[in-house]
């Protein structure tokens, strides 16, 4: 577990597991001084895997936590799923990956989320899924990968993804 800015800056690989709300996660990063080094390594393209709310933190804000400021890697706001579908989304959804994706593949992945990024961000290779409308299931650029789903709970599909990320040439 990273304790300091140096840990984040110097680590070969960094995983940002999704825990808690958008606002609570950003507050925890801010409090421990990890926001700036995390943002820097993502911008520099150092190997970073961000999961669940970790993907949402790439946006500038979220309906979940009005006022909270995200990493702002992409110019987007996180929104709640529509009333027409079950929320939270619990279960395995069909992920369709852009052919340019190197780490994320087509297949079923396990999701547990009430909020999502609706539009594919420019400049990233994306994988989309659908829950009351399309949303970003994953996005990747070089060694930086963000997944709305949980690869660690997605059986063989998730294990394959983790291995491809670790094996990427740095």
């Amino acid at each position: 577990m990273a304790q300091s800015a140096e840990d984040i800056t110097e680590a070969g690989h960094v995983m940002l597991p999704g825990v808690g709300s958008f606002g609570a996660a950003m507050a925890a990063l801010d409090k421990s001084g990890l926001t700036a080094p995390l943002r820097a390594r993502i911008v520099l393209g150092k190997p970073t895997l961000s999961i669940c709310v970790g993907l949402q933190l790439f946006c500038r804000s979220s309906e979940e936590s009005p006022g909270a400021v995200g990493l702002g890697i992409v110019d987007a706001q996180v929104t709640r799923f529509p009333e027409t579908v079950r929320v939270p989304q619990f279960g395995w959804n069909d992920v369709n990956a852009d052919p340019a994706c190197q780490v994320v593949e087509d297949g079923f992945a396990y999701f547990a989320n009430s909020f999502s990024m609706a539009d594919a961000p420019a400049g990233w290779s994306v994988a989309m899924a659908d829950h009351g409308g399309p949303f970003v299931a994953a996005m990747e650029k070089g060694s930086v990968v963000a997944c709305q789903f949980h690869p660690e709970l997605s059986g063989a599909y998730g294990q394959g993804l983790l291995k491809r990320w670790i094996d990427l040439p740095c």
């Binding site: 825990v19 808690g20 709300s21 009333e83 579908v85 079950r86 929320v87 939270p88 989304q89 619990f90 279960g91 395995w92 959804n93 069909d94 079923f108 396990y110 999701f111 547990a112 989320n113 009430s114 899924a129 659908d130 829950h131 949980h150 660690e152 709970l153 997605s154 059986g155 063989a156 998730g158 294990q159």
Partner: protein, 259 residues
């Protein structure tokens, strides 16, 4: 799109999987780690583990069992049984559960659901509701203490309140059908799933694939079953092939389907 989930349920007593009708006449049904791995290979979408231990020693063993299962399992794990305070939920999550189910203690003290949701998120806070048809009048009442107590509390109203208080999912067991092998109570499922917007897991009464399909067509988002899998009547893959043929969105991984 999101697929319907098939969820084998393991009742665990002092580190062993047991089976019995309404917790009476418990018989040994195997090792929880071996069964969990087998169900994942068959295509299970999640697992539920209910700790039915009656003693503090058994409760302690449950944490060890959760950790042992987590070590080998690659799919989500919900754990219930004996969750009375947020710290109990925290211990189970720490041991490797992804979601925690509260039942009797949530009925006695509904704030428990809010406490779990505030500490760990609504996506971790599952309310397990045991419901039985009211002896008089329409509807269903909430049953607690593993069937020992009929509360008189309206099950639909309780489902709504539990969600308002922070529950992110409902594990709904028909006490009339549990162990009867006569199919899920589809009227109950329809009523609860119409009343709330969170996912509903159907439980109690499954004996054949058609029962699971009926439940999913009656509003359930997921179907839980125990004995049909433990007894070897069907593999999870058997069930999911029938579901897919019936037009239900299903995650099929045929390469992994071995008993």
């Amino acid at each position: 799109m999101l697929t319907a989930r098939v969820i084998p349920c393991l009742d665990v007593n002092s580190g062993r999987v047991v089976k019995g009708v309404r917790f009476q006449g418990l018989r040994d049904a195997g090792d929880p780690v071996e069964l969990s791995m087998s169900y994942e290979r068959q295509g299970a979408d999640e697992l539920v583990m209910l700790d039915v231990s009656a003693t503090p020693e058994g409760r302690g063993n449950a944490l060890v069992t959760v950790a042992a299962v987590r070590q080998e399992l690659g799919i989500p794990l919900t754990v219930g049984g004996g969750v009375r305070k947020a710290a109990d939920a925290g211990a189970l999550l720490e041991a490797g559960a992804d979601k925690v189910a509260a039942n009797t203690a949530a009925v006695t003290r509904p704030e428990l659901l809010t406490e779990i949701a505030d500490h760990f998120g609504s996506q971790c806070a599952i309310v397990a509701i045991d419901a039985a048809r009211k002896a008089e009048g329409d509807g269903w009442e909430v049953i607690t203490l593993s069937g020992k107590n009929r509360t008189g509390m309206d099950a639909i109203g309780w489902a709504r309140e539990a969600v308002d208080r922070g529950a992110g999912e409902i594990l709904l067991t028909s006490w009339d059908r549990d162990g009867t092998r006569s199919g899920y109570d589809t009227d109950l499922l329809q009523a609860v799933s119409d009343a709330v917007h969170v996912p509903v897991i159907a439980s109690g009464g499954a004996a054949k694939p058609e029962h699971l399909i009926e439940a999913l067509q009656s509003g359930a988002d997921a179907v839980l079953a125990a004995s049909i899998f433990h007894d070897g009547d069907y593999t999870v893959g058997d069930i999911k092939r029938v579901m897919a043929a019936a037009g239900i969105p299903t995650r099929l991984d045929l390469t992994a389907d071995t008993p």
